[in-house]
Symmetry: C2
Subunit: 139 residues, 2 copies
């Protein structure tokens, strides 16, 4: 006997079948009332404001950026969402008070070089990792 | 002439001198009034509750965990904080309305295997990446 095709057919993909687009569970879900989606924002960090100019020689500051915004279901493909973040946003829909949304965090960071005095007053030029946000996503 | 030693001496370390422990800027900062620090929480995701049991054969669900909690200055070393997160938590102290705290997100995820029907009704066993939170941190 030929088995009837299943009603809900997940698309062919090597990732978790895109739970975002699975019909049925929350068809009428909308974005979160216009609040901004997760994205990268400008942020210039001034070493002077941090009170670091007595040991940092250069630069005076740098563009660090930061991530902020909503990670609401359905997570758009540009949200760099992990499978876990997709599942968490689904669970949040069902239990908003028990489980938070996935959070908007850096998914790619780059280094920046800083010239400073070390504890023995030597002048050091060092590349510090994970100082500049290159991309944000829901994690 | 021998130059006087500088007043604030960052410790020797290859990372950004632990801005958390630099004296002076915010000596009197305290934790955020007892709110829980960023950590991993239990979360069992039931595929039945998600309405997925018509295409997921096994398991019925799995322990996904999630991350939640405060990422307040000073970020403890167990917070797996990046240099950027440390700087962001410092900037947040100075401009709490302009820049959010770093957020509590998964820093390590692992895969889990799912047996399911694909769109042509074939039974597929696939390892899905980034499904289980192994560790959380401030990012």
């Amino acid at each position: 006997a030929v088995r009837p095709l299943r009603r809900r057919q997940p698309k062919k993909s090597n990732e978790l079948p895109q739970a975002n687009r699975l019909p049925g569970i929350f068809d009428d879900v909308h974005g979160s009332h216009g609040r901004q989606v997760c994205r990268r924002h400008e942020l210039y960090v001034s070493f002077q404001d941090l009170g670091w100019l007595d040991w940092v020689i250069a630069p005076q500051g740098y563009s660090a950026y930061y991530c902020e915004g909503e990670c609401s279901f359905p997570l758009d493909s540009c949200m760099n969402a992990t499978n876990h973040a997709i599942l968490q946003s689904l669970v949040h829909l069902m239990m908003p008070d028990a489980v938070p949304k996935a959070c908007c965090a850096p998914t790619k960071l780059s280094a920046t070089s800083v010239l400073y005095y070390d504890s023995s007053n030597n002048v050091i030029l060092r590349k510090h990792r994970n100082m500049v946000v290159k991309a944000c996503g829901c994690h």
